[in-house]
Amino acid sequence: MLIVIPELDEEQVENTVGRFRTVIERTGGEVREPNHWGRRKLAYEIGHRTDGFYVVMEFTAGERTLVELKRILRVSDDVLRHMVVKLPPSYTHEPLPEPEEVPA
């Protein structure tokens, strides 16, 4: 899951997400269609911003995926916050074909 800064418009958010998608795919992971929650109020202020675009991606990771992805997420200025969570194999209710990870 990641939070993108609210200054962008929908299209730029798509592009940003697309970048991470490329990273995952390039390093041997598979990405499911990202789930856009849209613009939401944050529960508290982060860097003087009160809202942000929430995007949830589920993906499988190749060997290098996590290192690369986390590095890029960290240096991206348009990502306010991100979190990668390992999902349990039993994770089903929304989505998954096999054990995967959600960048949160």
């Binding site: 529960a43 508290y44 942000g52 979190m83 969570v85 039993s90 949160a104």
Partner: protein, 83 residues
């Protein structure tokens, strides 16, 4: 930690143990993205509620607590309410 779980209530009204809501619904994974569900387990100050209040089983209480913490990290739930 879970010392006072069962056992006879001493004094006062007997404690009815109600089954854990997650067990009842067969929840295998307490998802931090379900912040509306998690909201039931925090106080109006934003603190995690004690097991004796939430009535969750030890496993689910633990999972709920970590889910709340993840949700806080992603600004889905507040760390502190008010002030």
């Amino acid at each position: 930690m879970g010392r006072r779980r069962s056992g006879p209530p001493r004094g006062g009204r007997p404690v009815k143990s109600k089954p854990c809501v997650f067990c009842q619904e067969n929840v295998a994974y307490v998802d931090y993205k379900n912040y509306n569900v998690l909201r039931r387990f925090i106080s109006d100050r934003g603190k995690v509620r004690a097991r004796r209040v939430t009535g969750l089983c030890p496993q689910h209480q633990r999972e709920a607590a970590s889910a709340i913490k993840r949700a806080r990290e992603m600004a889905l739930l507040p760390y502190v309410v008010g002030r």
